[in-house]
Subunit: 331 residues, 2 copies
């Protein structure tokens, strides 16, 4: 067992982001100092959409820069918020005069740094902040603490708001739209094996044979409970049942579903999960209107998956279906 | 550490493939008995393009079914060829009267079963077979044995021939085109950790700390040499130098590059690899005209990567750029 591909820990993220100029040459531009990623061809006369956060979740967020989704993404070091200086530079670069929608996963550092950046920019660069807090595993922490974590629902917020911004929606409406997607979304995840920090052999936690960790997030932290392994049908039901309840889904409703691998989960496993998800929901009369199945919001090389449900409505579906062209998502 | 997501080993692949109906509902149709995947909307009046092989390499091949790429994909069990009966049923289903281009990675079982299927179909269903054998690690086995293995260059063959078929190219020309892509392609891979067979804790081979396996394929087999870990720049050079030599690349040439994760390789590592690849090639005056960076031809959860170079020409680039819409690749 080896450490993996790396030149040095200090330049790891910057070099990785520079790699985007190779695959996404026609789509994205990498800015080096401070580090952020914008579209290769800047959009004009629309609200800019900006997101970001710690690295280690690729393709999130840098892979979602392009027409129909983000105007800029701001990557921090592994599992660490980007600095306010990076965020400020990115917003300045992409604000074409209509303001900036800022989409942030709910972590203390991210919310702080994105808020500080917005404040520093002042009235010349108006912003609306959408905080994504979809992770049900942390629901019990709402009172007083930082609240629920933000995980894979951020993709739905970026896709739907990105499409609306492309259509010319004003800043305030985009803020409301983003918050309505967050309200309609819920996520739960589980892990079969924790992740390894780059350049080390250090697992973030250990599980005995035959155990899984239920309710994990995307930063290698333990979940809410260590449980015995069960079959795919049982595990997917355990993830989905609380999501259905939380989002108030009833017979006849439809969802946008994200079956998300956390790093080293095979495509075969994600296919099995998607199959079980559809079976579970259809038995309750709930339709899967759209689904993404793949590894989109990862936790380094964690072996596990999360399921996100977004209660769909006509507007969400229309915006979801709008064209998108980014390194990691295109249709 | 747990086994992963599964209901039963015997139904694992079939359930996983059924999952495609969820994510790719508008793109693909899953046929259950025998198992194969076709486009949701069958193409008319064009040569059909069919591929397949053992499972465990997802998104290959089922993820590449759709307009601009494959008409059908035929998945076998994990690391096992599909049966001739599956292949025959798939070709029969998609042949619209112009014949079928059959793209096969060079493994004894695959070549045998696809050839038998083509033979059984006879003159009613004419076929051309393109055998992909891009893996330089097995070059020394050419004399007498089964020849070089087929790995990630199969994506380039499927994309380029898929586009040409969409344009109306006749069967014989597609066979020649496919073979010309194979001739222009070479691949090498390395691993930091071997893969785990689904439903077991069994690693296909073990490496000591600080060792890598150079020249691995995509079935968990050992490579050609166990070497000490080196930094990313050295490892990428070691992979790319023989590819440049084999494909006869000279100053002023351009390539289509595929930087391919083998399963659990992080997006950050693949970004670092893409960055090093571009640096290495540009120092020799070779341009990266197009690049795919991601996990497209996996070996279950292997931690490692392969690099494929395809010496580009105007025709390859034009066909590469043609529209494609599949579950795993779209632009």
């Amino acid at each position: 067992m080896s450490l993996g591909l790396m030149n040095s820990r200090t330049s790891f993220v910057a070099e990785a982001v520079r790699g985007l100029r190779v695959s996404g040459a026609d789509l994205v531009r990498v800015h080096g100092d401070p580090l952020f990623v914008t579209r290769a061809v800047p959009a004009q006369d629309k609200v800019a959409v900006v997101s970001g956060g710690g690295s280690g979740h690729e393709p999130l967020h840098t892979g979602f820069v392009g027409p129909g989704m983000l105007d800029a993404a701001v990557p921090g070091e592994v599992f660490s918020s980007p600095t306010a200086a990076q965020i400020r530079a990115a917003i300045r670069d992409v604000d074409s005069g209509r303001g900036t929608l800022v989409i942030v996963k709910n972590y203390t550092g991210d919310v702080l740094n994105f808020s500080v950046a917005a404040e520093l920019l002042g009235e010349d660069h108006p912003t609306e902040l959408v905080i994504v807090d979809d992770d049900l595993a942390t629901a019990s922490m709402v009172q007083g603490g930082p609240g629920r974590r933000g995980t894979a629902a951020v993709i739905a917020v970026e896709k739907i708001c990105g499409a609306a911004a492309e259509e010319g929606a004003p800043l305030r409406d985009l803020g409301e739209l983003g918050r309505s997607v967050v309200m309609a979304s819920a996520t739960l995840g589980l892990a079969f094996r924790s992740c390894t920090h780059p350049g080390t052999h250090r697992r973030s936690f250990e599980l005995d044979d035959g155990q899984i960790e239920f309710g994990v997030g995307i930063h290698g932290e333990r979940g809410i409970e260590t449980r015995p392994l069960a079959d795919a049908m049982a595990l997917v039901s355990d993830l989905v049942r609380p999501l259905v309840s939380e989002t108030g889904l009833c017979r006849g409703d439809e969802v946008i579903a994200i079956v998300n691998g956390l790093g080293s989960t095979t495509g075969l496993e994600l296919g099995v999960a998607a199959n079980e998800l559809e079976t579970f929901l259809s038995s309750g009369g709930i339709g899967v209107a759209r689904a993404l199945v793949g590894s989109f919001v990862t936790s380094l090389d964690m072996h596990g998956l999360s399921i996100t449900l977004v209660k769909a409505n006509d507007e969400f579906l229309r915006l979801w279906d709008a064209p998108v062209r980014t390194p990691a998502l295109a249709w």
